[in-house]
């Protein structure tokens, strides 16, 4: 009888200990915030940094934050295309879905080019450029710094004379 009781107690204690240990392990670690930061950072590194806002977020980092914090879908980046979706899927351990077809289609890398004879110097494109790649001033001709342009197309809608075109990046 004593043997039965003691073995019963032993098993209860053992199970309790194992349960407690498992519970402690399952707890989110204290560095959870740091880990999320790191994850956002690595997602951001995979994004093409075009800053085009075609995903609906104002830039690549905000989209990276939304992917991690708000479970945003990973197929919302047209400039990155399928290659970026594949990389993101691999990093996050989710399924790679095709690019969302309600967004713009994927294009080869491009740069903006201002037809300088038509530019009226309104500075609207300068204000729209997310990476400050356009130089110019009021009533003076503007031009694109080609090496710093990401080809995001954000300068196209504000231009009142439609003098900006996109060319394939060399």
């Amino acid at each position: 009888m004593l043997l039965l009781l003691s073995s019963f107690i032993a098993i209860v204690i053992l199970f309790y200990c194992v349960g407690a240990a498992l519970q402690w392990l399952a707890k989110p670690s204290k560095q959870g915030d740091n880990k999320i930061e790191e994850l956002i950072e690595s997602v951001n590194d995979l994004l093409p940094q075009t800053q085009c806002a075609q995903c609906g977020f104002p830039g690549c980092r905000p989209y990276a934050e939304a992917i991690i914090n708000k479970q945003q879908a990973i197929n919302q980046c047209p400039p990155g295309g399928d290659a970026t979706i594949k990389d993101l899927a691999q990093l996050l351990g989710v399924e790679a879905t095709p690019l969302d077809n309600t967004l713009m289609p994927h294009k080869a890398p491009q740069v903006a080019y201002i037809q300088e004879e038509n530019c009226i110097g309104c500075v609207l494109c300068i204000q729209a450029c997310p990476v400050d790649a356009i130089v110019g001033a009021n009533r003076f001709m503007h031009t694109v710094i080609a090496s710093e342009c990401t080809g995001c197309e954000l300068c196209l809608p504000p231009c009142p004379v439609d003098c900006i075109e996109l060319r394939i990046k060399q």
Partner: protein, 485 residues
Amino acid sequence: MSAFRGGIALAPNKQGLSKPITVVPLPSELVFNTNKPLVNIGDTVLAGQNIAANTIASTSGHISDIQTHRSHSTITLIPDGESKYTPAITNAENPIAAIEAAGLTGLGGAGFSTLKKLQSQQCAELVTLVINAAECEPMIACDEALMLEHAPQVISGINTLMQITCCLQCIIAIEDTKIAAINTIKQALVDSANPKLQLRVIPTRYPGGAETVLLRQLSGAQLTKSQRPADHDMLCFNVATAYSVHHAVANQPIFGRVVTIAGNATNQPCNVSALFGTPLTHLLQHTNNLPGSSTANPPTGKMTIKIGGPLSGRESNASVIDLANTAVDPNCNAIIIERTNQTADEQACIRCGNCADVCPESLLPQQLFRYQSNVDKLNEYQLLNCIECRCCDLVCPSAIQLTDYFKQSKQILQKQSQLQVDAQLAEARYAARETRLVRKAREREQELLEKKRKVAIAPTPAAMDIAAALARAKAGLIKPSDKTS
């Protein structure tokens, strides 16, 4: 000394050594293919003057033409035959100034500025100065010819390099089949009586003279792509560079080099001394080696002209027009003209592993070939460490020109890393713009607040009038009837 891992023992086949080096007479015009010309048409230039970024006029004369192409510019110089030096060259007082004025470029093939290499290691007291006289590639014999004829000047140049760098010792590495060159260098070493200089005879095995392979043979140092020999306490110069240094320090720099002309389609294999900018047509005409000029050998088979060695050289089309616009430059150590009757067709890789056995860098060429467009795998298998020696091409039973594929793959990697650099720049600029916008919004808010506060503290005269009028109206001093009257 044991041979390095990999490589192939190829027959030296140095055809041009039977005759002494001949000097090519000054051509009627010199051509320089460069990027950014610093001169205009009609300018008079002196020998040693910078005519473009990294390009130096090899003699004095005037610029007759500058053609701008898509990727480069071609400068044509008509020599005046006087070869006047710039004042910087004639007035140079110390070795470094003389080398700077002469704008020396290393003659080993990488085309790195000798001045930059020396300045970064000036009196650095590195352990070993390595003089690369191995010349491991078949047919090329320009360095060997130089050592046979000008050993004392070579040793004098090496002594100057030792003085500038303050290295503790100097190793001159020569392959064991170059017996005559070994003897002349030995004699010159005895004459110079500098105990720090020593000769090291290495096995004749291609590519034992490639910088990374040579340093590994001499000291066991493993250079990766991102490292310089200085990271392993060594400094490496080509033997022909030492010869140029000798003349530069004597205030009489030579703006030229020895070029080997060889191959089975040449009439007279030889070594010639030519100025930089000498068009290849002139060079081949002078040595009676111009393709098509010979009647003795009826042309059979496909002819290739290679600039550089038979293995590491780059191919050029055999048309005369192309040769007229291609000129001798510091990297042009040989011109190989060959006829091959049949070229084997490329077949599928059978994964035999022969290529891995001969790779001097211990890479896995079959894997690099398999993953030729997979960036991650190419990095994993260290494509960038490939020195393009073509050993793997030589042994491939399927006749796959692996190195051609690797060159393409390297471009893919380069493109990829450029994309990454661009992305980082874009991210930084985006972040900078964001912070600027936030700061501006805050400043604007501050300004508005400040304005409101000012109005509240010190009312303007107009505001005071309005306030007074309101006060009067309240007190009933102004009645509606007053307005009408």
